[in-house]
């Protein structure tokens, strides 16, 4: 059984990515409302985090190749952008910062999981050549039969979002819940990188990027905790 992806006249990639980001933000806003964060904080944090997510996601994908200037949305760049946005707005508002961080940390896997639908339909970020059950058959630029890496990413990260919701809603110590979530998400993202066609070995460029993005995000959270003097409540 194979999954046949038709070639689109107009690629829905950009629209799906933007819709996924907005859905994730809606989930974060819902959680912040549940945690009774002030409306002003919610509004400006969401705005600043959205700007940071989009800009850093774009910025980290700017590349000058032989074909000219290439632009796109980088998922890892989006994670770093989101962490930066939360960090900056935490410094400005100082209003329940651990709840704001927890809300966005729970929403991030949802954004990533949903945005993989765009990759699946566009044929990018595809898996290694494969022709077994559930193989993805692409046409056009990325034509071929591939391992369903995007479907694996999508399923795993939506499940991670559900785990994140349970952790963040049930645990009293929100910061601990965020650390647990990072500890799960980072190895998972590192492992799924093996399924991609770009992977060349045990520790290639893609995996180094994951480790760097993870280290920057953890660094931002630790710095944020020290500057805002957030105690483990």
């Amino acid at each position: 059984m194979t999954i046949n992806i038709p070639e689109f006249e107009h690629s829905p990639y950009s629209l799906i990515v933007i819709a996924s980001v907005l859905t994730g933000f809606a989930a974060a806003v819902f959680l912040m409302r549940k945690f009774k964060v002030a409306k002003q904080t919610i509004l400006y944090t969401s705005l600043l985090t959205l700007i940071c997510t989009l800009v850093i996601s774009l910025m980290s994908s700017v590349e000058l190749t032989g074909n000219g200037l290439e632009l796109g949305f980088s998922g890892l760049g989006a994670v770093v952008g989101m962490a930066l946005g939360i960090f900056l707005s935490g410094l400005i508002f100082k209003d329940k910062p651990e709840y704001v961080l927890a809300s966005f940390a729970a929403a991030a896997p949802l954004m990533y999981g949903l945005s993989k639908t765009g990759c699946l339909l566009a044929g990018c970020c595809h898996g290694k050549p494969y022709s077994g059950p559930f193989a993805i058959v692409n046409h056009g630029i990325h034509s071929g039969s591939f391992f369903p890496a995007q479907l694996v990413d999508m399923t795993v990260f939506i499940m991670l979002h559900i785990i994140a919701l349970i952790l963040i809603l049930k645990m009293e110590n929100k910061l601990k819940a965020v650390y647990i979530l990072i500890a799960i998400a980072l190895p998972v993202r590192f492992a799924t990188e093996y399924l991609r066609y770009t992977n060349t070995g045990i520790l290639d460029k893609g995996q180094i990027k994951v480790l760097v993005a993870g280290a920057i995000s953890v660094g931002i959270v630790v710095l944020w905790k020290r500057l805002l003097k957030v105690n483990n409540r």
């Binding site: 006249e9 107009h10 690629s11 950009s14 629209l15 933007i18 002003q40 400006y44 705005l47 600043l48 700007i51 940071c52 800009v55 850093i56 774009l58 910025m59 700017v62 590349e63 000058l64 190749t65 000219g68 200037l69 930066l84 900056l88 707005s89 400005i92 508002f93």
Partner: protein, 197 residues
Amino acid sequence: MDNNNNIFNDWQNYQPQQAPDPQQQYQPQYQQPQYQQPVYQQPPYQQQPQYQQPVYQQPVYQQPAYQQPQKPVRPIDLLPPEERAARKKKANTLCIISLILHFSPFVIIGALSGVLESLETGFTGTSTAPAIVQILGYIGGGAYIASWVFMIIARAKYSESVFAKVLMWVYLGILSISIIGTIVLIYMCAILLNGCH
């Protein structure tokens, strides 16, 4: 003995009262009901209505009962004018810095295109140009984020500032137009490319 004689005499004189005749006592007295002949009156609706000339009174316009809602007194309004002026100055400084930072990426994009142009003429084959493009991209992106940060600080700390409020809506407008413009451009390019086939 005298007493006994008296009792005897009383007993002799005693005459029981006659029991009342039940037929005589419980005889109901039926009275003939008096039916009165109904007097039919003319129903009111058949009566000729009496129209009265309505009396129009000149309406008297009064001051409306509700009062113009008064603006709630904000803590900022209670500050002395000097302090308010100082706050306004600080907010304006933040807004001007934000404005400069917001439009600096456009200058950077110009520099980026210059780098691209030089790539075609002289930089081909070197790794300097891609690195410069990435650095300029990071600087442009950083300046754009910083402009939003300064505007949000102005909005949060000096909520009374009209400049900051206008700036926020201008930035949101530019962002929306940019996103819509990019999507339209992508679709237009796709249509044009399809036309080339």
